[in-house]
């Protein structure tokens, strides 16, 4: 409708003229560009980028045409650029799947049932099985790594959730604004500290401290009951499941705490005041009114934190003892996670000239991708927008 006219026109910024098109939202037939491309999403925020913006007399027809063409192309260009994450995601999956093919063929389902991780005899001639060349006796099993990843992240969530919710509660309910700002600053620092620094701190400070703490308080005083045997025993030097769990908990605290804080502030005050007026103590009112209100959001944020803990690489590699092929037997033993193994073993994998070790690492990365994606997608279904402190929270490192 306006298309024919607008070929000749372009709005000069200083000139205003009567808008001949009465309806602000141009009908889809007017321009094929963004409205159609946006899948008929209806009235867009900027009144349609399709030329429904008033025909002004241009200063010169040629310039007007050029501007107008650029104008029409802009939403298309933006739309194309908006596809970049999708394309990147597709490329990631495609590259990993392609590179992992030999390993998938060779390892088969045993990858998820075996526990040994062996590159085989690298100094013997290569052999071929199932059409895949490999060093003899190569055998890869990811069970200890998957177990280590899931257990360490579970410990992190169990430790972080109550602490984060408690902190958010006290910040929103009790603290004066200055202290709240200070705690907010602490949250941002926790969110912003690079994971190498967490690893460094965990290795030199936290690990030995936790080892001494466990030794002093419970590790040597527990009865020898099968369930509790996990918590008993020598605490070694501090590089193990316990330290990793605590470090991961500290890393995912900001996500949960910040989201909880924002959600708590949205709880209608009247409900809480009503509960208190009925005679409940503050904590009872919180428990009956507030917490159920924020429950799904908090769970969503926790799952986001879980996603981050599952994918955490560097801090875990520095603090976990980096074992491959051993499930954690006690709370203090060294173990390996998928992400830490990939970063530690990639150099070793390159020694395997058949390429099977590198392919297996790609397969491992695929497994990790699936696990973290499940956690993240589940989280997004539960909470629409995770709170952001000024600095990033929620990144899946």
């Amino acid at each position: 409708m306006l298309a024919a006219q607008d070929e000749e026109t372009a709005a000069h910024p200083a000139r205003f003229s009567v808008v001949t098109d009465p309806s602000p939202s141009a009908p889809p037939s007017a321009a094929p560009g963004p409205t159609a491309a946006a899948g008929g999403k209806g009235r867009s925020a900027v009144g349609g980028g399709d030329g429904g913006d008033g025909p002004d007399r241009p200063s010169s027809p040629r310039r007007a045409g050029a501007w107008w063409r650029a104008e029409r192309l802009m939403p298309r260009g933006l739309h194309a650029v908006a596809f970049v994450p999708l394309v990147a995601l597709g490329l990631i999956v495609a590259v990993l799947a392609w590179k992992a093919l030999p390993a998938i063929r060779y390892n088969g389902l045993g990858f998820f049932t075996h526990t040994r991780w062996s590159q085989g005899n690298l100094y013997a001639p290569l052999v071929t099985t199932h059409g895949v060349r490999h060093p003899p006796e190569a055998s890869y099993g990811a069970v200890p790594l998957v177990v280590g990843t899931l257990v360490s992240s579970a410990i992190a969530v169990v430790l972080a959730l109550p602490v984060a919710v408690g902190t958010a509660l006290i910040v929103v309910e009790k603290l004066p604004p200055r202290l709240s700002a200070a705690v907010g600053f602490c949250m941002e620092v926790l969110a912003g500290v690079p994971s190498v620094i967490y690893g460094l701190w965990g290795f030199f400070t936290l690990g030995p401290f936790l080892s001494r703490l466990a030794n002093a308080v419970w590790a040597n005083h527990l009865p020898d009951v099968p369930v509790l045997r996990f918590f008993k025993g020598p605490t070694y030097g501090g590089q193990g499941l316990f330290t990793v769990g605590v470090v991961l908990a500290i890393m995912i605290l900001p996500i949960i705490a910040a989201t909880t804080r924002d959600l708590l502030r949205q709880v209608p005050r009247a409900n809480v005041e009503g509960a208190v007026a009925l005679g409940m103590t503050e904590s009872e009112a919180l428990g009956t009114v507030t917490l159920p209100w924020v429950r799904s959001g908090v769970i969503g944020a926790t799952m986001l934190g879980l996603g981050r803990a599952l994918g955490e690489t560097i801090a875990v590699a520095m603090v976990s003892g980096s074992l491959v092929g051993a499930e954690p037997r006690s709370l203090y033993s060294s173990f390996g996670t998928i992400a830490a193994t990939i970063v530690n073993q990639l150099d070793s994998a390159l020694d395997d000239v058949s390429g099977l070790a590198t392919a297996t690492l790609a397969e491992l990365a695929l497994v990790l991708l699936v696990i973290t994606l499940v956690a993240n997608v589940g989280a997004r279904l539960l909470v629409r927008q995770v709170a952001t402190t000024v600095l990033p929270v929620g990144r899946g490192i």
Binding site: R116, Y123, V353
Partner: protein, 396 residues
């Protein structure tokens, strides 16, 4: 690069006048010499000056290879953490005397040294382990050049023990397979009569990265206990599941991990002996093939290596583990420079040859001033000529 789908061997082109004496060298595969590359390589005046003197004799003289470029060139080295302290000493001296050559060093593990050299991302790879037959086949342009002789000690953190514990291969194989789990086990006590061993669990430490030290240690276990240790040696080994085991990155990481864990046992390169003692750890005397317990020292390492001086092949690849010298230390090895024979530029090739030639020169890098600081031993003259031949094959 290392996956089958993208494996491309590094092309090697050899000038025709060199082929006469090359029969024994593994690196040479029969590739047609490209005339263009020939012309390019031999057109640089520095190179032709260096190579014309060696046309007739098999062993190019070291000094002719030590032809330092005057234009500034930057080389990359990576790999073995065992060679790293010595390579840093060499780099510092090279930087001082010939400032045009700048070398970046990194300690990333022998496996990375090999793979980075194979991929061509570095000019010099360092490794304690020689190339495997599969790697030689895959990368015919790669050679391992002996640069020095080193060894490996077994360190432990056992409080209350004065002096050096005696250990042997079968005992350590049992330790690393969880068959012996405490320091006061009868098998260890039998080797160390009169020493009070505490009743603490053994914390085994091994390397998490791809390591030449792992290769040496696992080779030693295989050689000294073939029935008890059946895991094939390599730069990466599938360590059995032992309670309390710790993995550490690099020799430095091994020292740190052992220092932190009471009761640890760890295999560490001999260039870290000072750090080991400074950290309060002890190191063991190991039983060699003749049944004698030897401490790692330059004398015992030299004694073990002397036997192999004449039997080292022209490729440089030989295992000196568990040799037959009566007073030799059982874990001894050549430190290899893994060098792609085709360097990216003429300048780089010239610089690489100069650096390596200076390194194996007993008046240069193989002088006691450097080797004594890391407890290494210099190359015997027969091996020096082998290395010289290998170095002279580097070209661009």
């Amino acid at each position: 690069m290392f996956t089958r789908s993208s494996a491309t061997p590094i092309p090697v082109t050899v000038p025709s006048w060199r082929r006469t004496r090359r029969s024994g060298v593994v690196v040479l595969s029969a590739l047609a010499a490209s005339a263009v590359v020939l012309a390019a390589c031999s057109s640089s005046p520095a190179k032709s000056a260096a190579t014309t003197t060696s046309t007739t004799s098999a062993a190019a003289s070291l000094s002719s290879l030590e032809n330092w470029p005057t234009t500034s060139v930057s080389l990359q080295e990576t790999g073995s953490s065992l060679l790293y302290p010595l390579f840093n000493l060499w780099t510092a001296q090279v930087q001082k005397e010939w400032p045009s050559v700048a070398i970046t060093t990194a300690s990333t593990g022998s496996g990375t040294g090999i793979s980075a050299a194979a991929a061509g991302t570095v000019n010099i790879g360092a490794s304690d382990a020689y190339l495997s037959p599969a790697q030689v086949q895959q990368y015919p342009g790669l050679e391992n050049i002996p640069l020095a002789i080193s060894g490996q000690e077994v360190a432990y953190n056992v409080p209350g023990v004065i002096g050096h514990l005696k250990l042997d291969g079968p005992t350590m194989a049992s330790i690393y397979q969880a068959q012996i789990s405490k320091w006061n086990d009868p098998k260890i006590a039998a080797l160390n009569p009169g020493v009070t061993l505490p009743d603490i669990p053994i914390v085994t430490v091994h390397r998490s990265d791809s390591s030449g030290d792992t290769f040496l240690f696992s080779s030693f276990l295989t050689a000294s206990d073939p029935s008890g240790w059946t895991i094939p040696p390599g730069t990466t080994v599938a360590w059995p599941n032992v309670a309390g085991a710790v993995a550490a990155q690099g020799n430095g990481g091994m020292v740190q991990a052992c220092q932190k864990s009471t009761g640890c046992i760890a295999y560490i390169g001999v260039s870290y002996l000072n750090q080991v003692t400074a950290a309060g750890l002890g190191y063991a005397s190991l039983k060699n093939k003749s049944g004698n317990f030897e401490l790692p020292s330059q004398a015992s390492i030299a004694a073990a290596a002397a036997q192999f001086a004449t039997s080292t092949p022209a490729s440089g690849s030989v295992s000196m583990i568990f040799g037959s010298a009566a007073d030799g230390y059982p874990i001894v090895n050549y430190e290899y420079g893994i060098i792609p024979t085709k360097q990216p530029s003429a300048l780089a090739a010239q610089a690489v040859k100069a650096v390596l030639a200076w390194a194996i020169d007993s008046n240069g890098g193989n002088a006691p001033t450097y080797l004594d600081q890391v407890n290494f031993v210099s190359l015997p003259s027969q091996v020096v000529s082998i290395s010289t031949k290998l170095i002279s094959q580097v070209h661009s």
